[in-house]
């Protein structure tokens, strides 16, 4: 309980720092970007009026506090391009991106655990070399290239889905079907990384004394692997998978562009090109929060699995 409280306050502190840095970085250039929009008609009076309208004349601390509370109330200021409230603009997009990253994450977990239990048996054989090469190859395939191939093979050639025509979240079944392809594209290299890491952890664990004892006592090798070794390899695996979330978000940003998914990543890229900083800073903080929150969740899950962890960093 104390541990949970400590982790959650660390999460809040991290997010406060992240949001402050983001806001400070962008507030410096936000005003000039807005002025640039006035173009040649920028008389001093109009600039002053615009600064007043955007609230740039008020103290930094006030603007920051207002913006931060916007994450709770949904009022994050107006987009410079769309003349619309940032909160409203992003609401559906947040869900799409979170759904996509969640699906990739599920794929990674579901594929990498059985795969690593399989490949750990090959250690030291010639299959091991083949697997290492294949694994290394999968890690080298950029998600947007896989995405490009998938959208062509399954979209254009086989008509399983229509790239660029995301059905919207209200049609849940179709949306999940559509997102499966980008999720696979994101997951492939991450599955390879996870299998590699899990294989190493399992191998180290297999060299422990308790494994030798269990096997010499007559336990079946497979059940030792599943019942004892896998459990002990679980905490590092959970921590690793949580770190994977950062990688998944990176994949989401790029792959949304490949499949034409209206999510945060695409919005981020468009807004950077448009210099629409209110939108950019909101998206950055949302994505950062998603990553930091999944890391905190992993810590909390791990301490349930192995309560000794709570004592370690005291």
């Amino acid at each position: 309980m104390k541990y949970a409280f400590r982790r959650l306050s660390a999460l809040l502190l991290t997010m406060l720092i992240v949001s402050l840095c983001t806001f400070a970085a962008f507030s410096g250039i936000s005003g000039s970007a807005a002025e640039a929009r006035l173009g040649t008609q920028a008389t001093p009076e109009r600039v002053a009026a615009l600064r007043e309208e955007l609230g740039l004349n008020r103290p930094f601390a006030v603007r920051y506090a207002e913006w931060l509370s916007g994450f709770a109330t949904g009022n994050l200021g107006d987009s410079l391009t769309y003349r619309q409230n940032v909160g409203e603009l992003l609401r559906d997009k947040v869900l799409v991106s979170l759904l996509l990253s969640g699906m990739s994450f599920a794929l990674i977990v579901l594929c990498s655990i059985p795969l690593s239990l399989l490949v750990v048996r090959w250690a030291g054989t010639s299959l091991d070399v083949a697997h290492t090469l294949w694994n290394q190859f999968c890690m080298s395939v950029p998600p947007f290239f896989t995405g490009l191939l998938l959208s062509w093979v399954f979209g254009v050639a086989l008509h399983w889905f229509t790239p660029g025509a995301f059905p919207g979240l209200s049609r849940t079944g179709e949306a999940l079907h559509f997102l499966l392809f980008p999720a696979v594209a994101i997951a492939i290299p991450r599955i390879a990384m996870t299998v590699r890491m899990l294989r190493g952890t399992l191998l180290r664990e297999l060299n422990r004394d308790y494994v030798r004892t269990a096997i010499s006592r007559g336990s079946d090798r497979n059940s030792v692997l599943r019942r004892h070794v896998l459990k002990n390899a679980l905490t590092p695996a959970v921590a690793f998978l949580a770190q994977m979330m950062a990688e998944i978000v990176a994949g989401v940003i790029v792959v949304e562009q490949v499949f034409g998914i209206p999510g945060l990543g695409r919005m981020l890229v468009v807004s950077i090109s448009n210099r629409d900083y209110p939108v950019v800073q909101a998206i950055v903080v949302i994505l950062a929060f998603w990553v930091v929150a999944s890391n905190t969740a992993a810590d909390l899950i791990n301490v349930r699995i192995d309560p000794r962890l709570a004592l370690r960093d005291e």
């Binding site: 991290t14 720092i17 992240v18 983001t22 970085a25 962008f26 250039i29 070399v129 290492t132 090469l133 290394q136 190859f137 890690m139 080298s140 395939v141 950029p142 947007f144 290239f145 490009l148 191939l149 062509w152 254009v156 590699r196 294989r199 190493g200 191998l203 180290r204 770190q243 950062a246 990688e247 978000v249 990176a250 940003i253 790029v254 562009q257 490949v258 981020l268 890229v269 950077i272 090109s273 210099r275 900083y277 950019v280 950055v284 994505l287 950062a288 990553v291 930091v292 890391n295």
Partner: protein
């Protein structure tokens, strides 16, 4: 592997190479690709920007990767694009590694408050997707210029290297050989540079290969998104975004561009794998 053969951290003697197939294969693959890329800086079979009437030619003897929608020779474009990608990744790594190693060495060796702060900041930063950070920096600097791309990627790669170096230096500080040379009157700078740095080489080399691949991927992703390298320059990532729009007519464009990039990453990845095998690390 005896202690003697490991005496030179950068040297790879023949016996070690013979057994380390990953390292050999990786070096060979990367070597071939790097050589072709290097040639591309001075000579390409065709002018990579020259358009011709031979649009959408499939791979043939005259154009081994075929031609694109403007009739440009794809092989020449790939040679040039790989050069751009390679140079950007290399400059990124030079900025990231030199910044990170200096920062990590000083804080790890001396410890104290700066060290404490660096750990916290580093922990927070490594939780973020590197592309997100790079996108933030590039949107602050202004997108569309290769220099800004290199600066933003370079800055983003500093914390990772600082973290690895710091850990190695903090560990080395407590070891007797460092204490001995200190008693013999060696200066801090000398200890850090001459005594500890060579011992961190295995860790750093491995971090360099991973970092290089991440840099190639990050550059490719950003150029694909249209925020990195923009025309008239071409990089592999930008070419893939071009190739996507003509995939139906000329699938060989995307396949050859992507294939070269994958082989590049695969080669460097194998080198990294080989380096870790050499250290006897359980993978």
């Amino acid at each position: 592997m005896s202690a003697l053969t490991r005496a030179s951290p950068f040297g790879m003697n023949r016996e070690m190479m013979k057994r380390n197939y990953y390292l050999c294969a990786g070096l060979a693959l990367t070597g071939v690709l790097a050589a072709v890329t290097l040639v591309g800086f001075f000579w390409t079979p065709y002018d990579s920007a020259a358009m011709s009437a031979d649009k959408f030619l499939p791979p043939c003897a005259a154009h081994i990767f075929g031609t694109d929608n403007f009739g440009r020779d794809i092989f020449s474009r790939v040679m040039e694009g790989a050069g751009t990608s390679f140079m950007i990744a290399l400059s990124t790594i030079v900025i990231g590694a030199s910044g990170g190693i200096v920062l990590g060495a000083v804080t790890g060796y001396f410890g104290g408050l700066a060290d404490e702060i660096l750990i916290r900041v580093g922990d927070a930063l490594t939780a973020f997707p590197s592309i997100l950070l790079a996108l933030v920096v590039i949107s602050l600097l202004g997108p569309g210029k290769p220099v800004n791309l290199v600066i933003s990627l370079g800055l983003v790669f500093i914390p990772g290297f600082a973290r690895v170096t710091r850990a190695a230096y903090a560990e080395a500080r407590e070891i007797n050989y460092v204490k001995s040379v200190r008693l013999m009157g060696a200066s801090h700078a000398r200890i850090m540079l001459v005594h500890i740095l060579p011992n961190t080489a295995p860790v750093l080399l491995s971090a360099l290969t991973i970092g290089f691949n991440n840099a190639v991927l990050a550059e490719a992703s950003m150029s694909y998104l249209g925020i990195g390298v923009t025309p008239p320059d071409a990089s592999l990532g930008y070419m893939l975004s071009e190739a996507q729009s003509v995939f139906g007519r000329a699938p060989w464009y995307a396949l050859s561009t992507g294939g070269v990039m994958i082989l590049f990453l695969f080669g460097v990845g194998l080198i990294g794998e080989g380096l870790r095998v050499r250290e006897g690390e359980i993978l």
